[in-house]
Homo-oligomer: 424 residues x 2
């Protein structure tokens, strides 16, 4: 009988896994409890001192912890050296390419933000090759800056709005970028950083991770994140973990059927949620006689369009008020399905949903309540993200940090002049 | 920044947690690798020998492991005692109450099946008090049998088709039983087993766990289980874990809206999936002029009804063929939403879906393919469960076993005549 993971964490079983797990245990212990002696680490973790010494040697060599001189001179007995998480020498780079921008976000292991920027870029107007050139340029610049800061970059994660083969870093399909079978990881590795691991992850999944770690609903172990763009994506945190599914494709909320009598979607099917709550749908409702964004449903300049919608809403335009009410209603109706299936405590909305939150969320919340299942929906609340367009790249950097904490062997042994290897 | 659980397991941090985790580590190690000496356990786990000795003492006292005499007399040096998982003294009891039966399933920690039975019972025709009396009788009989076998019962889990407050073991609502706010755990504890922990869990969730551990798709880390009954429930295994949601209500697939122009559901809303694929819907389609099951949509005798449907299908009844095709189509259409959101590798169908699988699944699979998202649906397959009506009670017992493996301190110290406490 295979062990079932019912609420409690998996337990490692073979020796290499145990070593990695113990390295991680020591590193996380120092991160959560602050500087302390080897003896204190051994006592708290149940590991023997010889093992702790060996683990500490390896973590030092990988630039992840350092030892400070005895600081408590007044204490009884020979004071031990204090072990400290060294967050300053190892860093993580998150990148995002989306319809109209490329973003970069970098932190060190201690969480200090080193880079946080976004550059406008018309990915729709370029072929994938040209977009990858631009992404590579942004990556190269970021790595150069991190190099000047003396940061060893542990990994790069790229956020892309599409379905991704995580094992190979290939984007199967990113419809709003017009990408099909684009080998992002291989290209960045080859062109920019042959020695740095590059992974590619769905943008909404990464934004959900960022919300879970540092957004308005941080720490909420069951939450759904929705990206309000031309496309509508979803990222699911379930039991404190990102829900990936068998292929990493989970959370494809945009093409859930919500209206069997509805409009044809760009995907070829009928009544997809995206046709009701995507930005193109809103634009079509507020400017039905406007050629912009129609017939292909693609909106090129969301910021300008949103500013106009807000102006008209403030001026009391009844067409805009009706459109916002309709989008809010469908936002609630589609979310009812998500609540029944995922039972989240919070639905965090990003993108244009966040920008227009005050006009959309009260109606969405009312619809969710009207459709409620006893005891469930009553406890699920919509909230607007405050991470803005940086959510996905922030989540991308967070994935790299977490990978290092979970498996410190992911960091190479640093050159001897930077540290000394005392045991392994 | 809060650590993100991205694929790798959580790492414990405080001392009590570390102790529990280490007890679990030793227990699982012995379960997976078979009998071995303390030294071998220490070497493989990275724990020091003093710690291992202390852990072993506690596990022996709790009746979970035993020490066998030296077996390798020919080996060099003093042979150590071999530690062995003692699966025979501690057991788990799973119960299920459903519309037309009560089931009991018990195993010992080693997975040996001790009880597996189902008794017919018309829960619809009784008030909750009477149903709980019957459930208590079944539980008492099972405990008496286990007592005669010398089994210490580590816990009881009860499967109920409804929304359950897991913390208190209260059934909020089980519509097909007519239960609202029924304190199942308290009642069983009070009436049957004051010293045994009783938990209550949704039946579909437990059946999903049973499928994951011992069903046709065992070991598939991303799977969806669907119960085909009057009501349609769902249990989701995501990344090798049961998806619970914030309140344990996740997987309520039956009331996902699939047809905005559809029939009114018993829940008061319109177009729920249950109105398309529930057993009552099928019965209505094959016998539209039959008063049975209509107007309240409740079918009392599913086995007899299914036998009749199969007879008519075999006789080439076109009305039955059309109804099965229609249910198969809606099964596929609704599952497309589940595939987009959960990205499972397999959808396991139980209950009447399994009974009529050959007539339903080809059509459902075709519909899933027709609605497919590139690269996703192509890799998701329907399969019929072979666990029959025992799936939920089997899963219920599995939950108890897994809880013991994850936290051996859940087992009380057994009386001294049964073991000796050597350290703690």
């Amino acid at each position: 009988m295979r062990p079932v993971h019912y609420g409690l964490a998996d337990i490692p079983a073979d020796q290499a896994t145990v070593r990695r797990s113990n390295l991680s245990l020591v590193l996380r212990h120092l991160r959560e409890h602050g500087p302390q002696s080897r003896s204190a680490v051994a006592a708290a973790t149940g590991l023997n001192k010889t093992t702790v010494t060996s683990l500490v040697g390896e973590l030092r060599a990988r630039g992840l912890i350092r030892e400070n001189g005895p600081q408590h001179a007044g204490s009884v007995g020979r004071p031990g050296l204090a072990l400290t998480l060294d967050g300053t020498r190892v860093g993580a780079l998150g990148l995002e390419i989306n319809v109209d921008y490329i973003a970069a976000f970098a932190t060190d292991l201690g969480g200090r933000v080193l880079i946080d920027r976004r550059v406008g870029f018309d990915a729709m107007g370029c072929d994938p090759e040209r977009s990858l050139d631009e992404l590579a340029t942004v990556a190269r610049e970021a790595l150069a800056e991190l190099g000047l800061l003396g940061i060893h970059v542990a990994g790069i994660t790229v956020a892309v709005p599409g379905l991704i083969d995580g094992a190979n870093g290939v984007v199967h399909v990113a419809p709003n970028l017009g990408w099909y079978g684009v080998p992002v990881a291989e290209r960045l590795s080859w062109d920019v950083a042959p020695t740095i691991p590059v992974t590619v992850v769905n943008d909404a999944n990464l934004a959900a991770l960022a919300e879970y770690t540092s957004g308005v609903a941080a720490g909420t172990t069951d939450l759904v994140y929705l990206t309000g763009e031309v496309g509508v994506g979803g990222g699911i945190i379930a039991g404190g973990r990102l829900l990936g599914g068998a292929d990493g494709f989970a959370g494809e909320v945009g093409h859930v059927m919500v209206d069997s009598a509805g409009d044809k979607c760009g995907c070829g099917r009928t009544g997809c949620w995206e046709t009701k709550v995507g930005l193109a749908a809103l634009v079509r409702m507020v400017t039905p006689d406007h050629a912009y964004g129609v017939p292909d449903g693609i909106v090129r300049d969301p910021e300008e369009r949103l500013a106009e919608i807000e102006r008209r809403q403030a001026d009391g335009d009844p067409q805009v008020a009706a459109a916002l009410a309709e989008v809010g209603r469908w936002l609630g109706l589609g979310s009812a399905t998500l609540v029944r299936l995922f039972n989240p405590r919070v639905i965090v909305v990003g993108g244009y949903f966040a920008r227009l939150a005050e006009h959309l969320l009260p109606r969405a919340q009312a619809e969710l309540t009207r459709l409620g299942v006893t005891g469930t929906v009553a406890h699920c609340t919509f909230v607007a993200s405050d991470l803005g367009f940086g959510a996905a790249s922030r989540g991308a950097a967070g994935v790299v940090v977490d990978r290092v904490l979970a498996d410190p062997t992911a960091i190479e042994i640093l050159p001897p002049e930077m540290s000394t290897l005392s045991g392994s």
